[in-house]
């Protein structure tokens, strides 16, 4: 069973619907015993980093996540969940979980796209991921596939944690982590078949499929 961490993130039910569709057993939960028992954790997230961290710290889920990662429990962070695994987010000037070294920065509105027009913020829509390293999450997924992004801040982890890169005004890290501790800036639960395949790959790594 996969645990979808319940801290009132907007997309937690979307993640559950996607896993239900794939026939992967899962529960939306904040119960430490259930989370400890799960074969892997999905750490969703939509909205602002400040609010997300407040929710995590007041419920003690911040410490639980750190413990679980230290105990080698597989984890997949999504969007804001991907961002606040880092040390710090510029959004709401937020000290974050510090599970992966690095920080999260705001897109610079002065950056330009391919037509030399200023980029629009948020980065909203479908974009590709160029893998810098082999990653189990992307196994069997066409490298030209696109994923659905919607965010104004982007992760800047320590270089050794960069797995995949996306171009929007600049090359930013859209997949970071290490084996068993992964974070994606896009929404796999809203990225059609390639996104579903990524979730299935995570579940397979957790030996759920």
């Amino acid at each position: 069973m996969l645990a979808i961490l319940d801290y009132k993130a907007g997309n937690q039910t979307s993640v559950r619907r996607a896993l239900d569709h794939l026939g992967i057993p899962c529960r939306i939960t904040a119960d430490p015993a259930v989370i400890a028992d799960a074969s892997g954790i999905i750490f969703p997230g939509v909205g602002a980093a400040g609010q997300a961290m407040r929710e995590l710290t007041t419920t003690g889920l911040d410490a639980l996540l750190t413990e679980q990662v230290a105990a080698a429990k597989p984890l997949l962070g999504i969007c804001v969940g991907c961002q606040i695994l880092l040390d710090y987010s510029a959004e709401n000037d937020t000290p974050a979980l510090g599970i992966v070294p690095g920080q999260c920065a705001l897109f610079n509105a002065a950056l330009t796209d391919e037509d030399d027009s200023p980029i629009r913020i948020p980065h909203m829509g479908w974009n590709q991921v160029r893998l810098d390293k082999k990653c189990e999450l992307f196994e069997g997924i066409d490298p030209a596939s696109e994923f659905y992004f919607v965010h104004s801040y982007y992760p800047v982890p320590s270089p050794e944690y960069v797995i995949g890169v996306t171009h929007y005004g600049l090359d930013f890290c859209s997949v970071h982590g290490r084996q068993g501790l992964w974070a994606v800036q896009f929404h796999p639960e809203k990225s059609g078949r390639p996104g579903l395949a990524l979730l299935r790959n995570f579940a397979a790594y957790c030996r759920e499929v």
Binding site: I121, H123, G125, W126, V150, H167, H187
Partner: protein, 259 residues
Amino acid sequence: MLSKRVIPCLDVRDGKLTKGIKFKGNVDIGDPVETARLYYEAGADELVFYDITASSEGRGIMLDVVDRVAREIFIPFSVGGGISTVEDMRAVLLAGAEKISVNSAAVKNPDIISQGAAAFGSQCVVVGMDVKQVPVSELIPSGYEIVIHGGRKAMGLDALEWAKTVEALGAGEICCNSIDADGAKTGYELKLTRMIAEAVTIPVIASGGAGNPDHMADAVSLGKASAALIASIVHYGEYSIKQCKDHMTARGIKVRTIW
């Protein structure tokens, strides 16, 4: 590189799909959930549901449609029509939509935009605007005026000013619909689309007037839109989404081609 989006729009009344031509003479053409699934399979990048039901009973039916769609399709979709409070927004988002779209409710009460953005994040809040070309005046310096009630009521509000206002209030995206072009299938109102897109830094969806894939390519190139909303050209089977995207690709536009 970010792809330009192709977004079929489904008008729903009492839980059934319709398509209005100039907002008149709507006819039922099918089940919205089944149609959403077909468009998902066919390569739509996103979907928009516009609920033209007026009754509160119809609102309950729509929430059921949203819930069923969310279980079957795994791309983003938004829901608009009749949303006027934060509670309305919450109900639609909880039922499984990514975004909610406010239109006339935002004109009447602009605070709904900032309230929605504060409660759910800007990325959830799309402001739809219905726009009509009018003679340039002191009141309407851009020559484009905001209208509501399907174009029947002019608001004395300049479309360009309104676009900047909704961005400042926290809208995450604007869907700019030309009432003049809507249903005419002679192409999007490119001058309007470009004017709005250049005035704001949030994404703008071009709406109203698509008659062929070339129009869609125009909207995202000349019109500077981030996405093209389409309805009848795909609803009645004149073009597939793939044909639309192939044509856009041939015009040098980046679109999502793997789904």
